[in-house]
Symmetry: D3
Subunit: 254 residues, 6 copies
């Protein structure tokens, strides 16, 4: 069988050999969410996994099983859960799933976890699920350490200035924009169609949420900023910057 | 972007065009579970997805997002949840996840569902999750129809006789055996290593369960029967037989 | 007070004396479910309890409190939950109840459990509930052993051949059929009316489930096979065969 | 089959005939709880069922399926949950079970419910479970009416004076005392042993609860007052008084 | 900063100094519930807190954070949940909240808890929440002691005779009546308007519950008995009597 | 009784009169959390309530009942849940409580909600709870509109420049800092002690979370930035700016 950093592609015996080395396991946390007319629904699953792979290869970690559904897309960071194509978990189910995956891997003997988040809205529910697992294990005398990362937080200001010469509007509006599209052009070019990129002006969203969602606030494309300036080259810079930063952060903790 | 039957690889606009045709959506239901030394942990995810694709291509359906974690592996059908490599959901979380995916797709307008199960232990929890969604929707005036299938149930007796000339011991013992290995040889040869196939004699398991699991009852390989007789050719027959049967069953219902 | 193997009919002091002997407790797991026009709704509660009593008397065990509601009747094994008369628990509540009964008895000091299931659809939820209790107790340093049995699994092939000379169609179709009716004729003749037995031909059900249930697939009687050939004598053979098999299995484990 | 007011002993077709008359269904709500050295654990299940039968026979109602496990025995009303023999549900599971039974019967078409409680500690959780069912059904346009009764509340002051000439200390202390024992002597004499009645003085319990329970506050017998003065004759008076009162209350509401 | 017995008004460092003395923490348990035309919705929160303060000042305890929402108002003790103004938690959420507050304070090192209940309907759910916390902590080797009090239970018969010369109808009917109004006149006179006191005759309620609630059974005022005879002076007696009784009970236990 | 915008201080009849005007209800969402040595644990409850009052008075709204416990304090925004004094709800209980309060008020007839959040970590769980209520009500044909606000988001950049001449480090680090302390000096001077303000340098926290929390990353004071520069005057500016912004936003939506 082929060599792989992906736990799911390992056979159980190979995985158990890896367990003996007390590996760091990096768990991609994605979503199934609309990403405009030019990218597929699984962008967050793909990119969180790609980031995890890039890091794992550099530090000899294992990429654990991905969470492939995310918490509900919110209008200010993902366009909103009302848009067909997005399939979300409720907060409670996300918490349960994150908790149970952590417990199961700890049962195998994993003690060092990195969660690599690729969907903005997941973070707090991921935190809660992992925290519940940490407490549950501690009550049974098992100590694990979990690092929770959103990969875009490792794109530093210098890189942002370089990639967004026209100005940067924040990671929340980067839904279906330059960041994700550039990375997809690099990593999954067959799943991007730059001709379908929307030229909607960037979304103008209030500094609060309204429920139920007001659909008219989301641009028709579902993207919160334009991916027009995305390039494969920017993807390479983004991947490299984020992976480098994550490697450093993980090395710092473990 | 490439043409695809996989919803997750569609962009949202293409998906919405498909919605307009009232498509059948086939949801693969897998697991992350040890499958012996010769196959990866994700066999059930892969095969339930492959089966869904084979069927979708024949009937013009969409393959919905896969459930990638299953219910706890039981000793009599999967070797047991105590074996490192297997990552399971509790029954309640499986129910919640199955329910929520169904509700979300129904929100998009999907009305015709097929669940293609590839992990024996999932079935009852899948039934419950889908049933809760059906009731919830009905209470709001929305009617969906859901067909719940385990793909091996469409391998008929004549095919079994042909594939298991040495005698067939039941689908429950087919964990990591001829069925799954043959299909993997056909569909994912790079993820099978026939040289690592165990020659453990078939597992002899009692007609009841013991909890906690008695590890000594599971063969060291984690497989309940030998895959020694698996071949790519048998995989082709199995895929064709099962897909044909499922197509017929789906056409019968929709 | 009368001598009894039924925990519920013991006073607390007598029960505590029994606890001192580290008894096996056998818990009947039934349902409240339609069983055709010729038998009452409580057949599964009665027969799982009768089986538990028969075994308990042979091995000196205690019959614990029965679970009297089951999981939803499914069309392929019980005719379906849509038939008035059937009162079911959801999967989650069944899991909770099975878990809590196990925890409570373990709190008394019980360490050896047998669950004697009499309703096909219960099994996976029973497994989950008991498994959660086993894990919860283990985390607190308490080890229990639980054996999960469906009583019909102890009717061997020779007996089947003897009792079903016209051919046997599987335990799933035995809902309200020869097995249950013969046992009821033996054990609760006042609750059977052979003149009301349906002569519906055996149900022909697909090898998948459809939700919502398609009522037209269930025979009008609600039975999946005819009880016409049931006799008290067959009941005696069934009771004896199953009890003997269960005794052997329990002795093997404890 | 024998005539019966017990739903569980009816066949489904007979039950459906009864449904056509829009019957009142009376659901016994019991427990499995220690009741001293002279009575069995199932006293509350038996007496709530007996009371339901007595009422049903007078007004032509159906006795629905009993809830056989109760909420945790509390020290001030049942001696406490720490006493071996008592098997309780948590509050949440009791709520769920009461809710689901109500929903299931409403699904059959039942619209008039009486819950006949026989275990002091159940009441609030029963109220909540039934209330959740009422709200759930109302949201779907189905209106049911539920009457929640504790049977001892229908023993009037005149009767109390007659039965407790030595003075009455309140229903909470009547655990295993004159009320329950007299009724058992009348209805289940083979399950009472007056020679084992404790002569503990009545329990003196504070007007608050302490958790964890302080075992020394409960008399060794587990009874909170003595059953020494119980008689079959008092049982007849109690049964008649309570049943008459309940009949009147039910007629008032329905 | 001002000296205070209220934990919520302490800074964290002052609180931690108090922790070092192993203090008793008294947790007020209130509600947000209609209390007639003459008193505000927060009466139960205020009075349970006032009682906690009165006790804390006498014994050097800390008043912990209040539970400000209660379980659903029931018709026989609070007029019913159907009356606008009342905002309740479901039983499950009340249980969870009570459990979590207890666990959190135990995490700080608190080992001695008093729960001072001011809303009749809360009690059983409070008991369950606290009991779950006690069990959870015990499983981790942490022992706490919890005393659960309803403050009116410490108004003795002599005081009742003195305050209700016209006769006392029970604490359940004291909703919005003399007890609460007198205490409010003493402690929060700016939140009472005696001119708005209703002169409805006392409610006549059956000895059972009906669901859904029958609004016509509750007097228009929402009060179950008249507060006409409430006075500040009675408030002083009530506060003093209840506080004295609680102090004694707490000293007895700790 | 005194005039008030606080629902909890209204009597039910006054509240019902307000309901007739279809009022906006503003619900403060706070926490019980350490805020350093110079401020009490209830800062977030107080300030979210004060902000709600300031807004309500300007637009004629009602201030609904506060949520007084928050989600777990996280290290990067509140110093962490490990610090004694902080009492948090789990994510699920926060969701349930937010959902139930919304449902209860909607039951009264409230259709326009503003949630005024004062604790950073609450936001996602608040969003989920409110969203579940919105969906539940919609399924029953009731439409409400909910605006979710964190009050500091209405402090504009010009004000930030004016108040933080030394530079602003972000709202997440404003835990126990200039913002909250200035507001407390204005609104609750008796609960602030400027002499106890810590001079810890601002916390330096990584751009990820580690679980379990690493206590050494939080400054000893528990504050993430110094409140040394807080003044009553800044409090006045902050209150005015935030209230003005919120009023505008609310007017925009309703």
């Amino acid at each position: 069988m082929k060599q792989t950093v992906l736990m799911k592609e390992m056979d159980a015996f190979t995985y158990r050999e890896r367990l003996a080395t007390n590996p760091i396991v990096i768990i991609p946390v994605g979503s199934l969410e609309q990403h405009g007319p030019h990218m597929p629904l699984c962008v967050d699953e793909l990119l969180s996994t790609d980031m995890a792979i890039a890091v794992a290869e550099r530090i000899g970690a294992v990429v654990g099983p991905a969470i492939t559904f995310g918490y509900k897309s919110q209008q200010r960071s993902g366009g909103g859960y009302h848009l067909a194509g997005t399939v979300s978990m409720t907060g409670k189910t996300f918490i349960d799933l994150a908790k149970e995956i952590t417990l199961e891997l700890a049962e195998h003997g994993i003690r060092r976890f990195v969660f690599c988040n690729g969907h903005y809205e997941n973070y707090q529910f991921l935190f809660e699920g992992v925290d519940l697992a940490v407490r549950d294990l501690r009550a049974r005398g098992i100590e694990i350490i979990c690092q929770l990362i959103s990969y875009w937080d490792f794109v530093d200001d210098a890189t942002i200035d370089r990639l967004y010469p026209e100005g940067f509007t924040g990671w929340d509006l980067e839904h279906g924009g330059v960041l994700e599209t550039s990375l997809m052009l690099l990593l999954h070019p067959d799943l991007v169609d730059m001709e379908r990129v929307s030229d909607d002006p960037p979304a103008v969203l209030p500094n609060y949420d309204i429920l139920p969602i007001k659909p008219e606030l989301t641009p028709p494309s579902g993207c919160l900023s334009s991916a027009r300036n995305a390039t494969l080259e920017k993807g390479r810079i983004l991947l490299d910057t984020a992976a480098t930063g994550m490697v450093e952060a993980i090395r710092h903790e473990f």
